[in-house]
């Protein structure tokens, strides 16, 4: 009965099928992440809470002519998308790798790219939710003036920023043991964010930290976010994009090497 009931045209195009697999995978990845309260509440909650503490409490404050509450909308949007990529992909995939679930997936006919892309898109979706909440809170509670174009720019940067940090998440997933992954990711994520000026205007940080910041991928994403609201010089835009691209390639390359080594020893 099964063969007759399901006589779909076999030649139903391969790319079509891969795309529908990708869509289904993305939908369920997002649903799963949303249902996992430990993930969704903290990944959305932390940037918003920090913004309430440092942004809303500082409403009206300025640093070098920049409105702190507006600066922080952009920087916490970056903080949010980086968090959802590192936790969603890094911690999530590390758990799936160690539990053997990833092995089952790999032994199935699942297209690996569809799987990774689904995780990436889900992380970006969380980034967009966070950015939208931050913009709303900024406008309503901190009196920030934000044009529609600026809002769209922040969303666009959340999408672009998702890619290099998805690659970083992938690398962490390959390297970290599952049970200590959340702790280690926090140890990387929080200091990296602080040093890149995501928590407070970077001009308030010590001079030496400001010089070291360009070595961090989060710095470049923050600068791109700030560029959208006119708080960073436009001449450097290309430099930041290239830097993020470079970091993405570096993370992806290292993740690939780590994966190949683990497979040889599987």
């Amino acid at each position: 009965m099964s063969s007759t009931a399901l006589s779909l045209p076999y030649a139903y195009s391969r790319t079509n099928r891969a795309f529908s697999i990708f869509l289904r995978e993305t939908r369920f990845e997002f649903v799963r992440a949303m249902r996992t309260k430990a993930f969704s509440l903290s990944v959305i909650g932390f940037p918003v809470m920090f913004y309430l503490l440092f942004g809303v409490m500082n409403r009206g404050g300025t640093v070098h002519g920049q409105i702190v509450a507006k600066y922080l909308v952009a920087s916490y949007a970056a903080f949010g998308v980086v968090g959802s990529a590192l936790f969603g992909i890094g911690v999530g995939l590390a758990g799936e790798r160690v539990s053997g679930w990833l092995e089952l997936k790999r032994a199935s006919p699942m297209p690996p790219l569809a799987y990774l892309a689904a995780k990436c898109v889900s992380a970006v979706a969380f980034g967009l939710i966070i950015a939208s909440i931050l913009c709303l809170v900024g406008i309503v509670a901190a009196g920030v003036h934000l044009s529609a174009l600026e809002y769209l720019g922040i969303c666009g940067m959340s999408v672009i920023g998702g890619v290099p940090f998805a690659c970083m998440g992938l690398l962490l997933a390959m390297l970290l043991p599952a049970n200590s992954a959340p702790g280690i990711v926090n140890l990387i994520y929080l200091p990296m964010s602080y040093c890149s000026g995501l928590w407070m205007p970077i001009s308030l940080l010590p001079k030496w930290l400001q010089h070291a910041a360009p070595w961090l991928p989060t710095y470049h994403l923050a600068q791109l976010m700030l560029r959208v609201i006119g708080y960073a010089p436009s001449v450097d835009t290309m430099r930041h994009i290239i830097a993020l691209l470079g970091f993405a390639m570096l993370f992806l390359g290292c993740a690939w090497i780590a994966f190949a080594r683990s497979e040889a020893d599987a």
């Binding site: 009965m1 099964s2 063969s3 399901l6 076999y10 099928r17 697999i21 089952l104 032994a107 599987a266």
Partner: protein, 330 residues
Amino acid sequence: MNAVLEPIDTAPNQASPQAKCTAASLRVVTKRYGNGVVALDRVSLELRSGEIVALLGPNGAGKSTAVKLMMGLTSPTEGEVRVFGGDPRFAGNRLRTGVMLQVGRAPEMLRVREHIEIMRGYYPRPLLLNEIVSAAGLEGIEQRMFGQLSGGQKQRVLFALALAGDPDLIFLDEPTVGLDIEARRRMWAEIRLLRSRGKTVLLTTHYLEEADALADRIIVLNKGRMICEGSPQEVRATAAVQSGSSERHESRSGLQSVKLLSFQTKLPREQILNLAGVQKAEASGSNFTVTTSAPESTLRELLALDLELRGLDVRSPALEDAFLTLTTRQ
């Protein structure tokens, strides 16, 4: 539950011409890990279309390495692995295989139905959702989150995932671990049904009873080597021959009649070891278990020596005994 997976009318006809076709094979495969451990040592084996093969062996025997090689999850150090005549990594081959692995944790916040739907989506011609649900005995829990299921239910969901795509070749790694007797027998029935539909099944198991009940062929592995291969009856016979191999003067046919005797006696162990045909005698108090290659002679002498002997039981070595004999000799 059997109704929905009833053999398709055409299945036997499709299966018979390829009855002797090879579904998957290892050819002189050696797998050495980075840390120097040799998981498989020049192993050759073959899965023929439409048969159930059980891979049996203690922990560290190389069972899961053999399965992983055939699933294309790792590559051999030496030798060749073939699935449907091609590389197991080839995506087209994966569309014809289904896999059940021991998984510590599957994504817990997805419903059973959602898990099955995702897996169905990977295959061009999957089974219907309700066919899968009833084949794996998941009626009534389709809407539950995976994380809320009991161990046995989780196991059945993983079994469902292996069936979802209606694959030709199915790998089952310890499929009935954690199942109660009823659920285990139900899964056995499903596995037999797969064979009747022309599917090839490779299962690894610790349960000898399971291999005995299900398998057309048993392959015993120990420390990376293949010790023996054959039908459950043949494996038992091989074990009997091997356990008697110290008695070289015995004829081969005589060795086939190895029996286990258990009884209660006051005779000392030394005296029993000296009886005709006795190869091994284990004593706990006055209870003895004796392995003999000439049961009639042993019994005649034994009964003459001890007129008060009680609780006599004569039986053929079970697969379990064969298994122990085979794996401890190495």
